[in-house]
């Protein structure tokens, strides 16, 4: 672990001096500020911000992650030529990319609520959940980006695959699932929908958050199904497990790829 933290400091320095991570945090903070001013800082504001976070976080993570792997290619080779094991180096490189990103996104999202003193109001629980899920999604997106970038040596190709994956999860997946559900009729929706949901980390994150914000009711029938089936302690645990699997599996896969890769 020591090596991992030794790499974290220069990586965080590099990311902060690159400024655009700060830009991202500021953009999110401005968005939050506007939503609070126009929406009043209640549950609806949190849900609007939730939608922003669920789109922006995975996008930022896959872009930052793939670019980072390719930009750091030469310095990675220099590190690999040092007397340290690959596994430790991987941990350092991953955390050095994922943690500054997760921190920037979470701080950007929560900062406006903090300075409006909303972190101790009834929406506080939902806000902390939003922060936590944003962090987790950033870690998941970065892990997936590492898998893609370590396997696709061409940087444009890696970025293309990453963006296509993001588009599929953030936009296409829900449309396809809805279409299939419509074609199959209502009887198959309950379980089928929930299984389909587990295959998309953004959906898992969304449902997990909606269950915590009374927002499920806003999503009509589907929301009701989800609320009914998953709005229990077991449901929460299943969703959390699904989300953690979405982190552990790609991360393990990326670590294995890094371990075996020819640089």
């Amino acid at each position: 672990m020591k090596v991992a933290f030794q790499l974290l400091r220069p990586a965080a320095r590099e990311a902060l001096r690159g400024r655009w991570l700060i830009g991202l945090a500021v953009a999110l903070a401005v968005t939050g500020e506007l939503l609070i001013r126009f929406g009043g800082g209640g549950a609806t504001t949190v849900i609007s911000l939730l939608d922003v976070a669920l789109i922006v976080t995975p996008l930022a993570a896959v872009v930052v992650g793939t670019m980072q792997v390719h930009n750091a290619r030469e310095v990675t080779e220099l590190f690999l030529a040092q007397p340290i094991a690959r596994g430790r180096l991987f941990t350092g490189l991953y955390l050095g990319t994922a943690l500054p990103l997760a921190a920037a996104l979470t701080l950007g999202l929560l900062a406006p609520f903090a300075w409006h003193g909303l972190l101790a109001t009834p929406v506080a629980g939902a806000l902390w959940a939003l922060g936590g899920v944003t962090c987790t999604l950033a870690l998941i997106g970065t892990a997936l980006a590492f898998v893609i970038a370590l396997r696709a040596d061409d940087r444009v190709r890696a970025l293309g695959i990453a963006l296509a994956g993001w588009l599929a999860c953030a936009v296409l997946w829900d449309g396809i699932v809805l279409l299939v559900a419509l074609m199959l009729g209502t009887r198959a929706v309950d379980t089928g929908l929930l299984i389909a949901l587990a295959f998309n980390p953004i959906d898992v994150a969304r449902v997990l958050l909606l269950l915590g914000t009374d927002g499920a009711a806003l999503f009509g029938y589907t929301g009701a199904v989800v609320q009914h089936t998953l709005g229990t302690t077991t449901g929460h645990l299943v969703l959390l497990t699904a989300l953690l699997l979405w982190l552990a599996l790609p991360l393990g896969f990326a670590a294995r790829t890094f371990h075996r890769k020819d640089f």
Partner: protein, 240 residues
């Protein structure tokens, strides 16, 4: 210092090294030469463990490479015209390398003084010229008093003065008993450095031995002309 036996490496379907048998002798400067695509960089990467051979065995300083990282503590590597993190300074990158090493010994930065790097060592690498970055690259490679020094095109982008400083340092390292493996496209650069020549082509070592022997066996007066003759594929007397 280095011995390889039957080393083979392919990337996908492209076979880069086939049955490579080489020896790099301790305490000498070996020039690694060969046409583009001969497998020079792949050879260096195998030595550093950046890539692993499909077959064969590599021994460095009496240790057979098996994937454990410790042997690299004694190797200094200068990659080819590397672009390092743009917002870090050379000093920060050096501090990172120090922190990655188990011994934590203070680095030797005499070369930074010899290069007259001054405050360029404190400035973000992205703001420096290619030649200045290359000088920092050399400082990093030699900072940990390595027994084996691997230099990939070290003088590319260096001005004559810096190139002179680096060559003096390489000769000083040799005098101290260190082993140096160096690739360069500028063969006249290697003339005064190379004791031995390792000529790779088509994935095998086509010729290896003393530079003086190569000149004699090709009947050429300079290393550049002797290697050109090897490259042209003209028959050469066997190495002594």
């Amino acid at each position: 210092m280095i011995a390889t036996a039957g080393v083979a490496k392919s990337f996908g379907r492209r076979a880069v090294l086939l049955d490579l048998d080489t020896r790099v002798v301790s305490g000498r400067v070996t020039a690694l030469v060969g046409p583009n695509g001969a497998g020079k960089t792949t050879f260096l990467k195998l030595l550093l463990g950046l890539a692993r051979p499909d077959a064969g065995e590599i021994t460095i300083a009496g240790r057979v490479l098996d994937g454990s990282p410790e042997y690299r503590a004694a190797i200094g590597y200068m990659p080819q015209m590397a672009r390092f993190p743009a917002h870090l300074s050379g000093r920060e990158l050096l501090a990172t390398l120090v922190s990655l090493r188990p011994d934590g010994a203070a680095p030797d930065v005499a070369l930074a003084t010899a290069f007259d790097l001054g405050d360029a060592f404190m400035r973000p690498l992205g703001t420096l010229s290619g030649g200045t970055r290359q000088r920092i690259n050399a400082v990093l490679a030699l900072a940990f008093r390595p027994d084996l020094i691997i230099l990939d095109e070290p003088t590319a982008g260096l001005d004559p003065l810096a190139s002179r400083v680096l060559k003096d340092r390489i000769l000083a390292e040799r005098a101290a008993g260190r082993t140096v493996l160096i690739t360069s496209h500028a063969l006249p650069e290697l003339e005064e450095l190379a004791d031995d020549v390792l000529f790779l082509a088509d994935g095998t070592a086509k010729w290896q031995g003393a530079a003086s022997a190569l000149k004699i066996s090709t009947g050429q007066g300079t290393l550049e002309r002797a290697v050109a003759q090897l490259l042209a594929g003209r028959p050469v007397l066997a190495a002594a």
